[in-house]
């Protein structure tokens, strides 16, 4: 445990001192901020137009238009975009974890230190996760704005917001586990990022491809495999045990795989 903590502190310090984390946080916040304010402005316009649309629908004897709803238009949409952006952000945040150690030759020190590869892996994984959680905390300003500009008594749904953050934490942890694995494969950070990005993209494509598969069981299987798909229920405010089990087993499997890669490298040194 002590070994894990030592690696965790060291990795977190490296992150804080590295410009990469700030640049990625900057890009992530700009993109999310843009989509958030766009959704807010859209809903603001829709709210203004809504009485007229409603009256028109009544006069035309049509079903009334859907009411303006900050949960659906702003919260769900913004956090869905965030989940999508993670595919591009995470490989860059995790690419250096082991690749840098290989390149600098410090991996030998790690392997010969009293800290086991498993503890090192846990420390690195948790450090990345802590940094990612920190970036997510920075997005709380969206919640503040949504609360500020919502009407009294009809504030955004707290349960939905909590569920969205929980889903993003699980999704991010899964992406980090893929990133750590890719980083353990190569000493080239760019290659690690590309491998990690490719794997994450593959999962995205698998989810999308399910819609084009004729066989229902096969389509369901593909949908189940897709990492992003399991975040959907969280983004709708539903916490499902099957999604949690999926994420835990996915993260566990990827970390075990990484551990085996490290063990294999260790005995080749």
């Amino acid at each position: 445990m002590k070994g894990t903590w030592t690696v965790f502190v060291k990795e977190l310090r490296s992150y804080v001192h590295s410009p990469v984390a700030y640049v990625m946080a900057f890009v992530f916040l700009i993109l999310c901020g843009y989509f958030f304010q766009d959704a807010m402005n859209f809903l603001n316009r829709y709210t203004t137009d809504y009485p007229m649309r409603y009256q028109q629908a009544q006069q035309m004897r049509r079903d009334p238009p859907p009411p303006p709803n900050v949960d659906i238009v702003v919260i769900r949409r913004t956090y869905s975009v965030m989940a999508f952006l993670l595919t591009f952000i995470m490989p860059i945040l995790t690419m250096r974890l082991y690749s840098e150690e290989y390149r600098n030759g410090t991996i030998e020190l790690l392997f010969t230190s009293p800290v086991t590869p498993g503890q090192t892996l846990a420390g690195k994984f948790l450090a990345s996760f802590a940094l990612y959680a920190g970036i997510l905390v920075l997005t709380l300003n969206f919640v503040v704005f949504a609360y500020l500009y919502a009407e009294e008594g009809v504030r955004p749904d707290t349960g939905l917001i909590l569920s969205c953050y929980l889903g993003l934490l699980f999704l991010g942890a899964s992406f980090i586990s893929v990133g750590v694995f890719a980083s353990a494969l190569t000493e080239n950070q760019i290659v690690a990022a590309v491998v990690s990005f490719s794997v994450l993209l593959m999962f995205l494509v698998i989810g999308a491809a399910a819609d084009y598969v004729g066989n229902y069981s096969a389509a369901e299987f593909l949908r189940y495999l897709a990492v992003n798909g399991h975040a959907d229920s969280f983004l709708r405010g539903v916490i499902s045990l099957r999604d949690i089990v999926y994420y835990i087993t996915f993260i566990g499997f990827m970390l075990l795989l990484t551990n085996r890669v490290l063990e294999s490298r260790r005995w080749r040194l």
Binding site: H17, N44, P67, A150, T158, L241, L257
Partner: protein, 586 residues
Amino acid sequence: MVRSIPIPFIALVGLLLAVDGMVAWLASATVWGWGIPWAVGTGLLLGAFLSRLGIRKSVAFAAALVVLIALCAIIYVKGEVIGAFKLDSITAILLFLGLFVGEVGVGIASVLTGRASAQGANFWVYVVSALAIAVVLNYLTNRHVRTTYDITQAQLESLSDQTLAKMKGLRKDVHLFAFIRDSDPNRPGYAEMLKKYAAASRYFTFEFVDPDKYPDIAARENINPNDITIIVKCEDRRELVLGPEERDLTTAIIKVTRPGQKRIYFSMWHQERTLEGEMGMLANLLRQLNYATAPLKLIDSDVPPDCAVLVIPGPKAPFAPVEISRIERYLAEGGSALVLLDPDSIETGLENVVARWGVVVHPNMVIERQRGLVPYAGGLYMGEQQSMYARAMKYEPSHAIVADLESKGIATGFYQVREITWTGANPTLACTGTPIVFAGSRTSFAITEVKEALRNPRQAHSAEGKPSGPFSVAVAATAPPSVSTGVEGAKTRLVVVGDADFATDRVVSQERGNVDFMLNCITWLSEDEDLITIHSREPGYKPIVMTASQGTFMFLFCVWRYPAMVFVAGLLIWWYRRSRGPGKDN
């Protein structure tokens, strides 16, 4: 570890076969299709496990063979031993897990403690075993655990309270067949909804049938393979689900589990609306709700004892005294009636009948007056228009008939409607009643010159000195039967509406709320409250209101200033470290 590699592989093969058996069983394959792989797989798992316990391999696999033969014999003799199958599949998985802990778990533990290589662990054994356990865990969770928590306030992803109450009360096995092609894009949506139903009651099960793959089943159920068809079955009863909405599915479940068929009589021979004519759509909906409908000539006979609801749909001619007395007797004995009285009808005699239950039928008609976009000469223009069409958006929220219309903000529309009010309790009958629908806007008014207005519909009326809306146009009343019937809990139920047009095809097709209102009246009167229209949860009104300057501030803050602060902080830290040189950060 290395010398025992074949055992985990045997176990893995066993597990795959057992899972294959399970999948085949779920896909409704034959007993041999799922039974054989499952039995072989279980036998292999058992052999692997016994071997792991230290028993000699030959003995272990002999034992496994015996088990295998015994299981095959059970399958052969008993056919689909589903209960035993479930039990033994779980046993097989537990056996594998035990094997995993014993064989591979030790290896994982040694990896975590850094002694893996000393034992010469095999990379692929770990990977495949870890993958297998992940697959098993996910499979078991998907198959047996359907726990979901909708933690939102609006509960948009949950079934409605009415559906959940019905599902909780389910005590008979209900099975649903969804005839949908595998490739149909709507299938995941249906699956998602049906899973919620299955999670709400263990008596509810469902299966998807691709009509292309199983044309025999499609032919047996007499369905069109080109349409999505959903059938609900309970015991020997069968119901067709009419649409993709939650209300359609819940209604079908209620119908299929409800004993008997109730009969609704429609009075005739007084120039009423007819089920075959103007009210065809309503008649069709009633049939779909498992009600039988029949015309009734009150002049010839009493109200039949099997009458669940007597409907009098807009009579234009007066009732004979004998008919009136028959209606009165029916109501006094705890009957239920829906009386629709148009403003243009003459004194039918029913006005006095309903008056005994505290219902007052006014000789007037509501005129709607509104300013806004009005259709004229093919276009829309601003102006004031008087109309005999009054819409209702206000209902009595505590009454079962209209509670849902009120909470969902669903409008109903009435063409030529009269005012119907409730005077209060009648001490002789101990009535309780309430006005339930309020039609017309605040600017609407009621006129008493009904005949002139109907003769000249374009004539403008003066609102001066006339009562203004909204007006009560429907009243619901209940009372204990004044004549003892021997039926415990029997109650007279009466609904009077000041219009009959609202239930005709012409108006129903314009106002979707009218169908709900009419069916809710019938279901309430026939004491089938659980059939009262079910509406799935819908998003509420949660707007965002910003001024232009607030919008600009939010844009600048979210898209630029806030991220820039993070960037500048990073830049400063990087510059600080660079200026201090390497190795000085601690």
